[in-house]
Amino acid sequence: MKAMENVRAYMRQRPFELKKLKDGGRKIVGYVPDGYFPEDLAWASGAIPVGLIRGGDHEAVERSAETGVLRFLDSFCRAQIGYWKMEEPLYRLPDLMVVPILENNIKIISDCWEHAGPGGVFKFGVPHKQTQNGFKYYLYWIRELIQRLQELTGKEINEAALKEEIDLSNQIRDLFKEISQTRKSDPPAISGTDFITLNHASYLYDKRDFLKVLKEVSEEVKKQTTGLPQGPRIMLTGSTIALGDSKVIDMVETAGAHIVIEEFCEGIRHYREKVEPNGDLVEALTDRYFLKKLPCADCRGASLKRFDHLISLVNEYKVDGIIWYSMMYRDSYDIEGFYFAEQLEKGEKIPLLKLSSDYDAHAEIGPFRTRIETFVEMIKANK
């Protein structure tokens, strides 16, 4: 797809572009894209938000040890620390880091960035229960974040600017939903590789440029198919699918299966829930980001809601099998993985394959390939 080629080219030059923008006086706000940072606030303040979603490099995981961080910690989170240590441009550019803290692994990213890293970190806790008290707490911190962003850029976030950003983000969500619908066909009209790349791109792109790109992709996708043969339909889920961590996706597609839908805490946008810009805009953002959004696995009692959601996706996208791909030592997802496996065994009996990565591609490729190929063959034989 021509549009996808343009996306890849854009992403390659974006760090240089951001450097130029920064030299020209723009402020860069880096953030952990766990879905709890309303980027519209950054855009409206005149800053450029950059989602820090790189992963897949074992070197980054190892380098994090230089900050004294524990070995037995989520690989993606350790990599975020390591990329800063390795002087990855995207990690060195931000003037401010925003970390919405869900659990211990993410908290440690913020600790390391604060003490051994770039310094300026705005961190806040995300309550684990979607209650009114939780809403008030989250809203309080969003208002604090607004202050911080305004201090950073010297520009006040006015209502008109924020409304414009919210509208554009809603349009982006609608387009993601539209494109996602085309994956319901057999075979899907757009590959898992491309759809995931678009999600990753959304964290790095200029927003208005990205909206144009999504419109282009949506047009192209309606006109053509991937030209690939039908194959087992896979849902890919877990904690994190990072930019640079494509081995599982590649192996699934090489084995002749199609990833038709994803659900991740970090790496995939939650495009189903929109912001309803009625009344107080900041409260509207808080409502969508805290109350409406599908909670991630770290939230208490979220498992049932999340499980029901996954099953509804299985039915909607006619999924043949689920690949549970998690980072090593992400405890909340490990526990949820066990719970989901039990539930599937008792109920829907959808085949499930669990994979766990430490970003050690060298050691993992053989074992993963054997498991993925077997899983795909298993589904084909039993269809």
């Binding site: 496996a341 085949p351 053989g366 074992p367 054997t370 077997t374 063959e377 298993m378 034989a381 039993n382």
Partner: protein, 257 residues
């Protein structure tokens, strides 16, 4: 229709040729040069069958080096192959426990030898043939004697089942304490059986349970596994070539047979 399967694992390479209802086979250590060993094992079996490479209509490769075999027409994972091979040998199979030189697997088998669930350990030596080998070296006993000696154990030692290296030093300490050779070796086998059994719980153990892989030739391993899972286990006559046989059967299936 003459077909062949080749299974190149981490420890051993196997080849099977099926012709006119007859089976010819060979096993040898994989060694360092995979291509060389593949050619060798295939040459040996061709000679046994009185055939040449050109006579083979379809070859399926399996095992961890399956994608490195130049003369294979298709590669299929060892889990799929084991299920086919075990089903052919024991049509009532519902569970396969496969313990090889460097890995172990538990496979749930459905109708017609199709895989319906699986779990594998290819990361850790505990619960694999390597565990038994390391201990045999420590105790200065030939590997073929490990199984029979384990069966003579009266009170198998408690041995750490999670790490071969830790287990090794445990065995040295227990020996220094004066524990009998039989009990040390019994403990080693109990530990390996426990490790594999725990891993396979997510698949579940259902009758008939078929034991494959090189370690299935170890009568001690079989006995201790039966104790752990609480079911009788059947062992094929040649447990080491089951995966390879499955590959050959799948080769036949590719030709529409």
């Amino acid at each position: 229709m003459v077909v062949a399967g080749i299974d190149v694992g981490a420890a051993t390479a196997k080849a099977v040729i099926l012709v006119d209802g007859q089976m010819f086979w060979d096993v040898r250590p994989t060694g360092f040069n995979i291509i060389k060993t593949s050619n060798e094992v295939m040459a040996v079996v061709l000679e046994k069958a009185g055939l040449s490479m050109d006579d083979l209509k379809y070859i399926v490769s399996t095992g961890y080096a399956r994608n490195s075999i130049p003369f294979a027409h298709k590669s299929i994972t060892e889990i799929i192959c084991h299920a086919k091979g075990a089903y052919y040998t024991f049509p009532g199979v519902k569970t396969i426990i496969d313990i090889g030189g460097q890995d172990s697997k538990v496979i749930g088998v459905g109708e017609e030898g199709k895989v319906n669930n699986f779990v594998m350990n290819d990361k850790c030596a505990a619960g694999t043939g390597r565990f038994v080998e390391v201990m045999a070296t420590v105790l200065e006993i030939d590997i073929s004697e490990m199984g029979p000696t384990a069966l003579k154990s009266k009170e198998p030692c408690q041995v750490s089942s999670t790490c071969t290296i830790f287990a090794e030093s445990e065995i040295v300490s227990l020996r220094a304490e004066g524990r009998s050779r039989e009990d040390l070796i019994g403990g080693i086998h109990k530990s390996m059986a426990a490790r594999v059994t725990i891993m396979g719980r997510s698949v579940g153990y259902r009758d008939e349970v078929v034991f494959t892989g090189g370690v299935a030739k170890n009568i001690g391993a079989k006995w201790f596994l039966e104790q752990e899972i609480g079911l009788k286990i059947v062992v094929p006559e040649e447990p080491q070539i089951i995966g390879c046989l499955g590959a050959a059967l799948l080769a036949r299936a590719q030709l529409g047979q």
